[in-house]
């Protein structure tokens, strides 16, 4: 059995890495009690809380955290008609936090994620590991069998081309979860008791041309490099689908990163995922996604962006056109989604004029 770490007495780093260059985005509908446990690692950083659901409810933030909070009323006020692209009653709304942030890096975490223990029993500072991942190059063009070659104690193996050893910039750091694994509803129903107890001590770059399921529970990215592609889609209230927000973002992000020569890493850090959501509720949300995915995946696998698409925004707009053309026949939802993708970029550019192409 695996347990979360007890962080009482864990000292805070006197010089936290990237303290003024990173925002922590947390979507929530209930409370932020979980932050108490993260205090030693996260308190130095600025939080952007995106409150989903009923805006009249007050979300209590533990003492000592520096934060800004946005509820639905704020989102509507700030974006006006463009607010239609931000999901309601779904954690997908978190991407609003990415948009309003003014920092270079984002770390996003779910409010049911606690601090994990490594095999020696030590509390894992997930943010610190994400930062290390983002600040170190990626190696997407050739797979290194010893995983991250830049880690202490590792290196490139014999045969690894020297011309590829400088690597490329890392855009995304995708962390994992101990205890409740990120399974879909059917798997949850078949294996309700399965817990992830395996601590795989590796960070690796996902090769160019390979897609993966990106989970938004424990994720960090370079907002300047890839931010506009981190749109979490139309989910939740009024939408035919849920629990595919991060997946959608992940597929778009990977295609664009591959096109622009950026790296995506997965592996460490682990967090401890405490809550298993209701599999029957999940099944209803995912149901359409399970079928649509079969067409969506080949779409992304064969998506080719033009040479002229050199900024993330340009790539994303191109992608939205392809979505409209190729996926709308599956369901009118994709037509709406393609439009929302464009709205998202327009809103992003409005709120972030400096990053415009």
């Amino acid at each position: 059995m695996v347990e979360p770490a007890n962080t009482v007495g864990v000292p805070m780093n006197p010089t936290p890495l990237l303290k003024d260059e990173l925002d922590i985005v947390i979507p929530t509908i209930r409370n932020l009690d979980f932050l108490e446990m993260w205090r030693p690692f996260l308190q130095p950083y600025h939080l952007i809380i995106v409150q989903d659901g009923d805006p009249s409810k007050t979300i209590a933030v533990p003492e000592g955290f520096d934060y800004e909070l946005y509820n639905r009323n704020d989102i509507n006020r700030i974006l006006g008609p463009k607010a239609s692209c931000i999901s309601f009653k779904d954690s997908a709304c978190r991407c609003f936090g990415y948009m309003v942030s003014k920092k270079k890096y984002i770390f996003t975490i779910d409010d049911d994620c606690f601090v994990a223990k490594d095999p020696s029993g030590k509390a894992v500072n997930a943010l610190e590991q994400h930062i290390k991942n983002l600040l170190c190059p990626s190696s997407p063009f050739f797979f290194n069998t010893l995983y991250d070659p830049y880690r202490e104690g590792a290196d490139f193996v014999r045969g690894y081309p020297f011309s590829l050893r400088e690597g490329v910039s890392t855009a995304v750091s995708h962390g994992l979860w101990l205890n409740i694994p990120d399974y879909d509803a059917p798997t949850q129903l078949v294996k309700p008791k399965e817990r992830n107890t395996r601590y795989v001590d590796a960070v690796l770059t996902i090769p160019k041309g390979t897609l993966f399921p990106m989970c938004g529970m424990n994720l960090a990215f370079d907002r300047e490099l890839i931010g506009p592609a981190m749109y979490f889609g139309l989910m939740g209230d009024g939408q035919p689908i849920g629990r595919y927000d991060d997946m959608w973002a992940g597929w778009c992000v990977k295609v664009i990163c591959d096109h622009l020569g950026l790296g995506v890493k997965t592996g460490l850090p682990y967090i401890y995922h405490s809550k298993a959501s209701n599999p029957f509720v999940n099944l209803k949300k995912e149901y359409k996604g399970i079928f649509w995915q079969e067409d969506i995946i080949p779409f992304f696998q064969s998506a080719k962006l033009s040479k002229e698409a050199v900024t993330v925004q340009q790539c994303y707009i191109e992608l939205s056109k392809m979505v409209k053309e190729k996926l709308s026949p599956i369901d009118p939802y994709f037509d709406k989604l393609a439009d929302a993708m464009v709205t998202w970029i327009e809103a992003w550019d409005e709120l972030n004029p400096a990053t415009k192409a």
Partner: protein
């Protein structure tokens, strides 16, 4: 892990050291019950010393000459001697470990049964078409994650299992010479499939493969001009691996990497190896764009045909870059001829 049928496995050891006593005795718990093929490096002068208690067939230069002809036995010198074992084996699975490696210990202190882990890897499907973030979805305690397409969950046949090394990792000479004290102490508890189209350096130090599926694709082809008797002075396995991965991708098979670990011991001197002209580096640089853009014809459906087509492309596109490539292409064609003649009699 499930029960292995030991009759389906040959353990092939290339003997570059004459005295295999320590090596074989350290592996005894895990080699016991299996048939071993020991192939002596034709250039090794001393008699092999093999301890009692193993079901082993030993092949030396005379045997190699008899089967392939003395003009072809140079193909099997040095580390490439083990390919002779692959050639004459009649089994479904081959597990091959360098003779300077012993069983590793896992983090709990238990000795790792590398043979069982390799066979297990080979018997379970691979998943090259989509990356599973929880790594091997078929192992105990893991599964496919949310967002993994259902149509891809049955996987494809696994062609090869590439293991890793604790202590002395398979680093190249410049890296090891720079970091003389560096030892690999990181036990990464995962098996994963290397995705479709991703290239990787496959090390021959600790490898297993499905001989029935891809046997002919393990080609003893690329020889460095100054090839030596330490891994730092070879590239044959890396070239072989590039061919194997490309052919596996083409035929819809998977290649796994990760567990099992072996414990690799000190042999040779990285700095000494550096003194030799490091031509391997140049050859790798030329190989990468070649494999990246290579497309085998759709009509190549058998492994043997894939190797022949690959050899043709190597000769055409890389032949002018370096004579080593022309020789490799010729060796690949010769290898298929030998494979067909040895394995056709059934």
């Amino acid at each position: 892990m499930s029960e292995i049928n030991k009759n389906e496995v040959d353990i092939v050891i290339g003997a570059l050291n004459a005295d295999l006593t320590q090596f074989l005795n350290s592996w005894k718990p895990f080699f016991s019950g299996f048939h071993l093929i020991v192939v002596k490096d034709p250039e090794l002068k001393q008699e092999l010393n093999i301890p009692q208690g193993f079901d082993v067939d030993v092949y030396s230069k005379t045997d190699i000459d008899k089967v392939v002809g003395s003009s072809n036995s140079t193909m099997f010198s040095g580390y490439s001697c083990r390919y002779f074992g692959y050639l004459i084996s009649k089994k479904k699975y081959i597990v091959s470990i360098d003779d300077d490696c012993v069983p590793a210990k896992d983090p709990k202190g238990f000795l790792v049964d590398a043979v069982s882990q390799h066979v297990n890897n080979l018997e379970n499907p691979a998943t090259p078409l989509f990356f599973n973030t929880l790594y091997d979805p078929y192992c105990e305690g893991a599964d496919f994650v949310r967002g993994y397409p259902f149509s891809l969950r049955s996987g494809v046949p696994c062609a090869a299992s590439c293991g890793l090394w604790l202590n002395l990792a398979d680093l190249d000479a410049p890296t090891q010479a720079l970091k003389t004290e560096q030892r690999n102490t990181s036990y990464v508890d995962a098996v994963m499939t290397v995705p479709l189209k991703a290239m990787l350096p496959i090390s021959g130090i600790n490898i297993a493969f499905n001989r029935e599926l891809v046997g002919p694709a393990l080609v003893p082809a690329l020889r460095l001009a100054g090839e030596g008797k330490v891994r730092w002075e070879t590239l044959e396995d890396v070239w072989c691996g590039m061919c194997l991965k490309h052919i596996s991708d083409h035929l819809g098979y998977g290649v796994k990497t990760g567990l099992p670990y072996v414990w690799r011991n000190e042999r040779g001197d990285a700095v000494e190896s550096l003194r030799k002209k490091w031509e391997g580096m140049k050859l790798m640089e030329k190989s990468v764009p070649f494999f990246e853009s290579l497309k085998l014809p759709e009509t190549a459906l058998k492994v043997e045909d894939c190797v022949i087509e690959l050899a043709k492309a190597v000769k055409e596109q890389l032949g002018s870059e370096d004579p080593a490539f022309t020789q490799a292409a010729d060796a690949m064609v010769k290898w298929i001829q030998l494979w067909n003649s040895v394995n056709s009699s059934g």
